[in-house]
Structure formats: structure tokens, C-alpha cells
Amino acid sequence: MNHETLRRLTLLNQLSLTDAQKEDIIAFFARQEQGLAALNVVDTESVERMVHVMPILTVVREDVAAQPFTREALQSGAPDAGEGYWRVPRVVE
């Protein structure tokens, strides 16, 4: 993690950080990288990639449609809504 990577990530995530926060984050990742370097010496060749910590697999449901929520209820907490839509500040490329 360096200033350039952090700048790119904050841009992609639309975050604004103070200079002090930036320094904190960079220092934090520097410590993590040391930890990762220590782990990297372990041979993990035959270890399977872990996707989930819980031993739960194949949670699926049948393809049946239902509409238990109303649009009005879902939009009741929205900062702005109208004509059936959520409204957000204009985004056009």
C-alpha cells in the first residue's frame, strides 16, 4: 500500500480521507504486509482454497416468484423517491 494505490482505491470507492487517515491506513497495511510475509514462508501447495469458514454448502431455493414487499414500504426510508423510482443525484457519463 502506497499513496498512489490508496488514491486509486479512494477514487473507486468514492471516499474522501483526511491526510491523517491516509497515513494511518498506510501504516496499518505496512504492518499487515509484515504479517503476510511471515505467512508466505509456509508451504501451502497442497492446501485447498478456503471460500467459507462455515461447513455449509449448496443453499438453494426453488424457482418460485413472490412479491411480499410493497414498493411504498421499501421507499419509505429513501432520502428521495417519486413516480415509483428512487431518486439520486444525476449521474451521466
Binding site: V51, H52, V60, D63, V64, P68, L74, G82, Y85, R90
Partner: protein, 480 residues
Amino acid sequence: MRYETVIGLEVHVELATESKIFCSCSAKFGAGPNEHVCPACCGMPGMLPVVNKRVVDLGMTAGMMLNCHINRTTTFDKKSYYYPDLPCAYQTTQWFAPVAVNGCVEIETSKGKKKVRIKQIHMEEDAGKLVHDIMPDTTHVDFNRTSVPLIEIVSQPDLSGAEEVIAYLERLHALLRFAKVSDCRWEQGSMRCDVNLSVRPEGSSELGVRTEMKNMNSLTAIARAIEYETARHIDALENGTEVLVQETRRWDDVKGKSYAMRNKETAGDYRYFPDPNVMPVVIDDAWYAAIEASLPELPEEKRARYISELGLSEYDAAQLTQSRALCDCFEDAVSVCGKAKDAANWINSEVMNILNARKMNFDMLHIDGKSLGALILLVADGKVGRANGKKVLAAMFDDTTIDPAVYAEENGLIVSHDTGMIDAVIKEAISSDPKAVADYKSGKEKAIMALFGKCMKQLKGNCDPQVLHTMLIDAIKATE
């Protein structure tokens, strides 16, 4: 210098499911804004996704149809993407273990047959719709399409021009519709395509600078866009008209030009990582076998079988195998009437006529093939005349629950075997047109057609034409 074009395609196909990929909201097209939404698909905190099994079924089906290896453990990942059409600020897709990998599709062009390699097929959710023209300074968001299930079929860069691209897309279209994976409607956006294109000197093994055109949704536009981009790339390389950069471009089909949109995000920018909320899906042997057993015959296999086993002509077989709906209707009809040639004939003439007249495409054919089989039997057995059979067929299009025999009975369309009545009609026709009688007797055999038509009309078509014809000749001969 001679150049060659290198093209890879990413084809998005909306799956034929009732509900969305991770929630129970309807996946149907055409509702009012935000009528198909719930806390899960509009990104409310704390909501957990649950995979729709049918999506995995269809993903596997597509994989098998395209000769892919199926990953027996398939997982979902988050793709970070910050835009209001995705309320979670990520798309749930597959990156590390997609449902199907390493397939191939055979295409045929004027240059012969060729195999196009499939890199992978992954399952993912669609994004919502943004509307910019209702109010200034405001974007309106519709989440109906958010989380509608898609598969993305990623090819290797094996295609070399518009002709091959079109052949490939048409082949995908046919295979996916035959397997009922999707209705593949370009015009509704249920099939759409990103075109990745680069140009290099012929024989070179290095790839040139690649540009991507996103969300193309018509074959003619795709062909035009490929011609344009190829020429633009060659012009840049030959004449230095511009410096090519890796970018996403938008195709304007009206102006016939492409325009730069934004720099293509690299995979790293999407920061893919395993979605901890969606459990891995393990496809056991029973599940795999069930999907394998459900795969349809390929169109060309059906065509060959219709010709060799059912005795159809090349033409009839080719007509029917244009669409799974036509094949299903034909096979159901034959299962009832046992008359393959009659069934092909009815579908390729009468059914097609009605579809054309009602501006319906083949896939909109909804009549019950078994009822059509029953109707074909009624006509073949002489119980309903051919012309009246067409009336029954038209009624079956209006109401698919109609039983042809009952409908014909109730509407007076059953052939009369009352020879007394036929006799009376013939006598009347003969006495009203002595000229036709005289002409026939003097050797003008066609003259009988006027009399025949008159009688048929009087009988409302409810008469076996063969019987009427014989009785009519006998009656004419009996006049002096």
C-alpha cells in the same frame, strides 16, 4: 501490409426463470418501475442472498450445450462496481470458480467449419435501469432488472471478422433456445454482446491494442461496428491517424461510428473477492446426471432424424428445426396422429400462415401440439374438411384449451355423411348451371370444378371432397 482482425465476444443472456437469482422477486420483463423489488435486490443492509436452483440448472445446461467442463464446486464472488444501478455497490458474479469452463462451439461460414473455444460461462446478476430524462439534475432508479439472472459466455479471441461473429452468435442463439436456457430476444435485451477487437499484421502472434464495444444488441449493428472498428484500427496502424488505446467504445448505429467512452477498468480495479454470504454450490452426481438427461437433441440431429426416420423432405425438416417451439408442436402432433408428413405439412403451411398473419414469431407458437394432432386425424379421416380444419386451427390460436372434435361439432364443421342431403345439393347445382354440365359432357373436364365449388359452398365444406366428386360425376352422367 495485410492485417487480420482478432475478436473475442462476451455474450450476456438473461435466463428463462420465474424469479431473480438471489431473491424471490419476479424476473419477468415489462412491469412498472420498482414493482419487482424486495429488501434483498434493492440492497437493504442485512439481507442475505439465496441462490435460485434453476439458475444453476440453466448455467449447467448452457455449459453442456457448449461442450464445457462443469465445475462441480462453483462459487460466487463480489465485483466492486460503484454506480447507482447496483444498490450494493458490487455485483455478485463468478470469478474464481465459474459454473462452466473450456468449451467449444462449431460454426460454419463461407470459409468452412471452425471451432470457437469458450473460455468460461459464469452466472451473475443483472444491473438496474437508470432513467435520466424525467427531471433535470436527477437520475431515477428502477431496480426491477437488478438481480435478474444472467449467464455471461466468454469466448477466446478466435473470431476473425463479422461473418464468423454472426455465425457464432446465431449458433449460440439456436443452441440456447433449443435448450430453453433463454428466449434470447435481442430486441428486449435478453441477449446482448460485448465485442473485444484488435488488429495485427497477418501471421503475427502478438495481439494489438484491444478496444471493447459494450451492450450491442443487434446482429446488423454488430457486423457494421466490426467493419468500422477494423478499418479504424488499420488506418491508425498504417497512417498514424490516431494512437490506439485500450478503451471501451460506444457504437452509434445511426451515425455508423464508434466513440470513446472511458478507460477500460482492469480486473484489479473490480477487486473480486469471494462472497461470504453465498455458500458454495456443490453439484453432485445425481444433479449432474439429471441435467445431462434433460439436454435436447441438437437442431441438426432432429433434422437428420425427421428425414431418415419420419420420411420428411429436406425442406420440411429444415423449416421445422428453425425453432424448438415448432419441433415440440410437430412431435406432439405426430405422437397423437402418427402422420409425420401431414403434421409437417400442416405446420409449415397453415400454422405458418396464421403466425405470419398475426405477426408472431415461431417461438410464440402456443397451440397444443397434441390438439393439432387430433385435428389432423379428423381431417385425414374425412370427418372435417380441410378448409374447415383451418377454421378449427384459427380457433385453437384464440383459445388453446379447445378440443378440435368438440369445437367442430359445436360449430357445424363436421362432414355430413347424409347422402340424401348431398344428392339434393347436387341436383340443385346441376339444374342451375346447364352450361357447365354440357361443357363437361363435351369433354371439358375442368367444367366440373364450378359445380363442385357450388356444392361445397352449399354444404359449408362439410363433405368429403372425394365422395362429392364421385357423386357429382355420377349425377351428371345420369342427365340425358
